[in-house]
Symmetry: C2
Subunit: 172 residues, 2 copies
DNA sequence: CCACACTTGTTGGTAACACTAACCATGTCA
DNA sequence: TGACATGGTTAGTGTTACCAACAAGTGTGG
């Protein structure tokens, strides 16, 4: 029971002070709020499960990606939205633990492929297992039909152009 | 254009290799997968927006909590599932920026209340605004009725006993 | 009333993570 | 070939998070 209870009953989602406009707008705010809060919940679970195996969230993601890929450092950094230099350290540490490995890329001698080791793969299997088990009580509260619909409705969140304000903030 | 594009098209959710069982189980896996992925998406958005204002995810949460609370260090740490010592640093930095402040607690001279400053409050308003705006294209893909139902279905994720396996691992 | 224990927050030390800037090595193209 | 672009590592900085140890304040029991 190291760090428990990531129930933050509040957070950067607006809470209720809906000036509102019409009903649809109200639901939109509530939805954003719900998405943000559920994101924190889920991240909490992932963080904790990762921590139980000495894995950070990022490491978790890396392993997840490598389950069916053999990308190069840069690609991987691209997936994660991280800098290349960050990847070096990340991969270093994971490699040191034998979870993944670096391999030369024959096509381009600059490139370095990253791939998961059997040991790492096995770990991800266990992790996924545990994640599913942990989330089960939550998902279990919905009946199959609701689950199907929820999956369907999460689709837009997953396939997002999410154009991103992208604004460098401005000083331009 | 520092770090963009946190679209990780994969991650620690199982992808498709459903041994399956029956349909309901399949949906359960898909749901877990969807929840995890959407969580990463949302966190990506929050991280980026925070970064644009030089705020980490945690700082974002802190400000969110303080919007309508005046907790003491320990309580705050409790909400976030963080160590007390972590809070000290977190609050230090935010206080130095004038976003929040520490105040003595008259009842208990050991305790230290934390509260948001007008400046900090204003910032959270802008952040929430931006978050809603950024997520709008996503939520906008659903019609109001779908939004309402999605909110409804996210409920179980937000109100979670989330008992947590808590066990060291289960290799049994 | 005073010694002991507990709570609250801070400090110090360590490690991970993420960024920038600088740097080699390789690849590409004019 | 020379100029430039790409891929990855290294060095340096700041943040986040942990644990352990501590000072100060609170609250008992004898």
């Amino acid at each position: 029971m190291t760090s428990e209870d990531p129930d933050n009953p509040d957070n950067p989602g607006n809470s209720g002070n809906s000036e509102n406009a019409d009903a649809s707008d109200t639901y939109e705010d509530a939805l954003v709020d719900g998405l943000v809060r559920s994101a924190f919940q889920v991240m909490g679970v992932l963080t904790r499960i990762g921590a139980e195996h000495d894995l950070s969230l990022t490491q978790l993601r890396v392993l997840g990606i490598l389950r069916d890929r053999r990308p190069r450092m840069t690609e991987l950094a691209g997936y994660l939205g991280l800098d290349k230099s960050t990847m070096s350290g990340l991969i270093d540490r994971a490699e040191r633990r034998g979870l993944l490995a670096r391999g030369k890329n024959p096509q381009d001698r600059r490139g370095i492929d990253v791939f998961i080791t059997p040991e790492g793969f096995e770990l991800t299997q266990r992790l996924n297992e545990e994640i599913r088990r942990t989330l089960a009580p939550v998902t279990g509260r919905l009946d199959p039909e609701q689950r199907r619909r929820l999956v369907e409705m999460l689709e837009p969140v997953l396939t997002p152009p999410l154009a991103l304000t992208q604004r460098g903030a401005a000083h331009t």
